[in-house]
Structures are given as C-alpha cells and as structure tokens.
C-alpha cells in the first residue's frame, strides 16, 4: 500500500492552508505584507489622502518633505504622497487589465498549439519565436505608437503589454497540454467518447488552472513596469489619469531644480510594488511548480 500520508497528501491542486504560512520564509512574508499594504493604500487612496488635481498652488511648489507633505510637493504645489497613492491605484488597475490581456493571448495560443498539435502547433510556435525574440520595451513602444490613434491611450497600453508578455505563458500552457495528452486518463476519456472540446473543458483546463493563475501573478509586475515605462515616455496614460510612470516623468523635470523627492518617492513605490508581487509569485512557483522555473522568469 502507499503510506497514507503520501497518498492523502498527494492532492493534485496544492491548496493554500493556514498551516503553510507558518513555514513561509521571511522574504515571502515581507513581500506578502508589502503587497497587502500597497493594495490597501491604493484602494483607500481617496480616504487617506484626497487628491485635488486642479488646484494649483504655486506658492507651495517644490516643498521638501515635511509633516504636512511627507513626500513633499511637486512643481505646481500638489502633494506628492497623494499623487503617488492615486498613481499606484491607476498603475495597479491598468496592470491587472494588461496582465489579463497577456493571459488571454498566451492562454489561447498555448491551448491551440498544445491541444491541436501538428501544423497549428508549428505555426503558433514560430509566431511565438518572432515575438519572443524582440526586445520587450522597444517592441512595446512600437506597438503603443501604432495602436494609440485607433484604441486611445489606455487601449494602446493594454495591447502593448499584452502582445509583448504572452509568450512564456503560451509555452507553459502548451508544454503542460502536451504532457497531459500522453496521460492514460486522457486516452481513457477519449476511449469513453470524449471529443476535443470536451477534453479541453473537462480535463485540460482544470489542470492548466494553476499555470494560468501563476502566470497572471508573475505577469503583473512586468505589466506595472511596462506601463510605467510607456507613461514615462509619454506614450502611456494621459496626464489627468496619472500613473506612477507619469508622476515620475513630471518629477524628472523638477530634479534639475534640486527637488529629489518628486522622483525618489514615486520610484521607490514603483520598485516596491513590482518587487513584492514578483517575489510572492516566484515563491509560489518554486514551491509548487519548480518545473516552470526556466519558463516563468522575472
């Protein structure tokens, strides 16, 4: 017999139980705390630090950090902390959507390649190679410029992130599917009369779910960075929807005037957000899906 422990513990889907937290290493706990704090701050931005976008208070411009303005003020006298919190919210929102776009593109193409195989697989993989061989940022800028007139700034950002970040996920989904297709239980399902669509729905997708969830979590910090980079370059969101990238771009102008706080604080928050989420995702990956280590990289 199999020892009951091994047998019972062999749950296919690693369920996150309370007990697992006790064994988490320090960095993962820290990353979790930072992520939770940042999400809470972003969600509660309006409450913690109401933002008055339109008031220009030139007499309060470029004040260094103080009790009243912990992160100082910018060149038109706005509170940097308030801007950062609201920017964080915008960045998070856009990045979630962008990561979803990447997930959708990567998942769909991965399923097509893995489930159909043959020529479809070959075509998708060549297509994938073309995308994967491009420099993400340069390619993303080209895409953002191309789509901006047609889709508007937000749509262009989403597409730019989605089309540059789907490849690793598509590879994983395809690999998992090919491994699944060789399993006796899939043959058994085919023998029971299951068609292609039923195999995908009943057997493939439930097995792919962990990869998709993990893919999303690991894509998220990429999306934050990519969006910020585009906005910083003026190709992202419009100034009235300031994201961390726009704020950094604005802050850069004040640097020459000696105002380091307009750049440092938004930059630190951007770094913290992407590092925290990325660390969490990597930890989850290494613990439950070490095989994907080479594919899902930050």
């Amino acid at each position: 017999m199999t020892a009951p422990a091994a047998g019972r513990a062999g749950r296919p889907v690693p369920a996150l139980r309370l007990g697992t937290f006790r064994r988490l290493p320090g960095p993962a706990v820290l990353a979790g705390a930072v992520t939770a704090a940042l999400v809470l701050l972003a969600l509660g931005a309006g409450v913690f630090r109401p933002l008055d976008t339109y008031t220009v208070a030139l007499d309060a411009a470029l004040q260094p950090p103080s009790l009243q303005h912990p992160m100082g003020t910018d060149e038109v006298g706005r509170d940097v902390l308030a801007r950062v919190l609201h920017g964080l919210r915008v960045s998070f929102g856009v990045s979630v959507l962008a990561a979803l776009v990447a997930l959708l593109v990567g998942g769909t193409l991965g399923v097509l390649a893995g489930a159909l195989g043959g020529r479809v697989d070959a075509a998708v993989m060549r297509f994938l190679d073309v995308f994967a061989s491009q420099n993400h940022l340069v390619f993303g800028i080209v895409l953002a410029v191309l789509f901006r007139p047609a889709l508007g700034p937000v749509g262009a950002v989403l597409l730019s992130v989605g089309l540059t970040h789907w490849t690793s996920l598509a590879r994983i989904v395809r690999g998992e599917l090919i491994a699944l297709r060789g399993q006796p239980f899939v043959s058994a399902a085919i023998g029971g009369g299951a068609g292609r669509w039923r195999l995908v729905r009943r057997h493939y997708l439930p097995h792919l779910l962990p990869a998709l969830v993990l893919g999303f979590v690991l894509l998220f910090p990429h999306a934050i960075f990519h969006e910020s980079a585009l906005s910083f370059l003026g190709l992202g969101l419009p100034p009235h929807q300031a994201s961390l990238g726009n704020i950094l771009a604005d802050g850069r102008r004040s640097l020459l005037a000696g105002a380091w706080w307009t750049s440092l604080f938004p930059g630190l928050v951007l770094l913290a957000a992407s590092l925290a989420v990325g660390t969490l995702g990597e930890y989850w990956r290494d613990r439950h899906h070490p095989r994907w280590r080479s594919e899902l990289e930050l």
Binding site: M1, A3, P4, A5, A6, R8
Partner: protein, 315 residues
C-alpha cells in the same frame, strides 16, 4: 521456530495523523523471526503491510505515531538515534525496494554503484568486491558481466538480482523485501523466489511483503495475513495453505482463480474508522454476536501458529 530470534516485533502499532483524523495502519502486531527463517506477510493493498516494512526500518513519514517494540538482536530499534539507525540500516537491516529499476541510480554504472553501496555498508574495498562477486554468483550473475553497464541496460530480472546482491553482500541480519515480484512475469517470479530463498539460506532473517499468495506458498517458511491493520493469522505456510484458521484466510484462498475465484462480499473497512469488534466481522460468513463486541486476542494454534478469531480460536 528455529534458533534464536534476531528480529522481535512486539505490540507494534502505527497511526498516521491526517487532516481527516487518524489512519490506523498497524494494530498490535507481534511476531519474531530467526536467522535463516522466512516470514511472508500477505494482505490487500491498503491493509498496512508496507507500513510494517517501513516501521521496522523507521522510514515512515513524519506524521506517523509508532508505539510498541522492535528489537534487533535485543537492541530496541525504535529508541535508537537517527545516526545509529542509519548505521543499522546500512549494515544489519537491508530493505529491498519495490521496483529495482527505480531504486538504481540511472546515471551510474552498476559496478561502481554496487561497490559504493557496499562501502556504505561498512565493507573494505577488496572485501566488498569479493562479497558482491559471491552474492551475484549465488544469484547466477557474474560481477564483470554487469559492472560496466548502466541499470537501464539490464533486464528487469537482472536489475532485481543486482539489488538483491547489494542487500546480501554485507550479510545483514534482517532482509526485508517489499513486493519483490511486483510486475514480474511468471518465470521471473520463480527466479525471484529462488533468490529470496538463497538470501535466507545465507543466514539472514527474511521478511517478505507481498499481495501474491502464490509467492507466499512458494517461499514456504511462515505466512502472516494482515487485514485492516491487524495480524489475523500467522502460520507455517504449509498449514495456512492447506487449512487456514481465520475466516479471512479461508476467503482469500477461495478467491484465487485456481480455487474458484470467489470474491469476498463487501469492502474492507476504512482505516480511519475501524469497527469496535473484529474488523472482518461485517464480511465474515461465520460471524457470531461476540465478534462485533471486541477485537479477539491472538490465540495459539497447535502447529505453533496464531489466529485472531473469537469463533475459531484454538481450532
């Protein structure tokens, strides 16, 4: 029983703590085994027989709770430190794993691998070579014929012999074989049986765990039947196969295709919820009211065996 027993198991009980409660894997198992003796433990998958092998070698997972005694030459195995236990496993207590193909490191040639195993078992280099050669020869294989090959280049039967030789070389006091005929063809089963007997003839106390009743009969020695964590019958093999004392033993023999292939009605009890009385009572044709009240104690049989049955105790 011949000679002094080298392995003594007394009241061995193993429970696994699991999220749903506790799995009772072994309950109050008692037996002893002398040098050169063979004891074959039979039972269905999930009855606890593999846990017995792992409890004696202390290879159980961390959620196991073990009570009772295991003595090797009078030494309390369960009380040893991990380091002492490791030495014991290396030199005096050999476990032959279930699938020899998976147990041999695939990227190492057989010769160096065997020599390393022998060194871990405390044999000096020259002696290791000689002893391995001797063990392999007894199993019908020449050391030089296999030494330069990788495990996957050997047939299943040869892999089995290599693993057996590794176990024999250090002349351990106790050898435990877990499902030694798993997935083997009939002719290889015969070969394996001969090898196991050779290991016992070599002077080791041999404990074989299997679900293959024919192997148990072929090996001879004594046969122990495990059902739902209990040792329900322990007999000389000949006595058991000609006249089992426990109703479960009788039902098992009748289930063999050559004896009619009659299935036992019902399912085995869950090890998480064993009944208060005899675990076999719900499926037993000879069930009496007393059976459902308490688990019967082991009762001696005229041939030196033991049976745990309230109805058939003593005959």
């Amino acid at each position: 029983m011949t000679g002094v027993s080298v392995l003594e198991v007394e009241g061995l009980t193993v429970r696994f703590r699991v999220p749903r409660g506790a799995v009772q894997a072994l309950t109050d198992v008692t037996f002893s085994l002398g040098r050169g003796e063979i004891l074959t433990v039979v039972g269905e998958s999930g009855s606890g027989k593999t846990v017995l092998a792992h409890a004696i070698t202390r290879l159980l997972p961390l959620n196991a709770e073990v009570t009772g005694r295991v003595r090797l030459d009078g030494e309390d195995v369960l009380a040893l430190s991990e380091a002492a236990m490791q030495r014991l496993r290396a030199r005096r207590l050999a476990l032959i794993p279930q699938s020899p193909g998976a147990a041999l490191n695939p990227v190492r040639r057989v010769g160096p691998l065997l020599l390393e195993i022998a060194r871990v078992r405390g044999l000096p280099r020259d002696e290791a070579r000689a002893r391995l050669g001797g063990a392999l020869r007894e199993l019908g294989l020449a050391f030089d014929a296999v030494a330069g090959r990788y495990p996957h280049q050997l047939s299943g039967g040869m892999q089995q012999r290599v693993v057996n030789a590794a176990a024999m070389a250090a002349a351990p006091d106790v050898v435990i074989a877990d499902e030694p005929t798993h997935g083997l063809d009939a002719d290889l089963v015969e070969t394996t049986a001969r090898q196991l007997q050779a290991i016992a003839a070599h002077g080791a106390a041999l404990l074989v765990i299997t679900h293959d009743l024919r192997l148990a009969r072929r090996l001879g020695g004594r046969t122990a039947v495990v059902y739902a964590s209990y040792l329900v019958e322990l007999r000389p093999a000949e006595g058991f196969f000609t006249g089992p004392a426990h109703p479960y033993g009788r039902a098992l023999l009748r289930a063999m295709p050559e004896h009619g292939g009659v299935p036992i009605p019902g399912l085995s009890p869950e090890l998480t919820a064993l009944p208060r009385g005899c675990p076999f009572a719900p499926r037993c044709p000879d069930r009496a009211p007393v059976c459902e009240e308490a688990v019967p104690p082991p009762a001696p049989l005229p041939d030196g065996g033991m049976v745990r049955c309230a109805v058939h105790a003593g005959g």
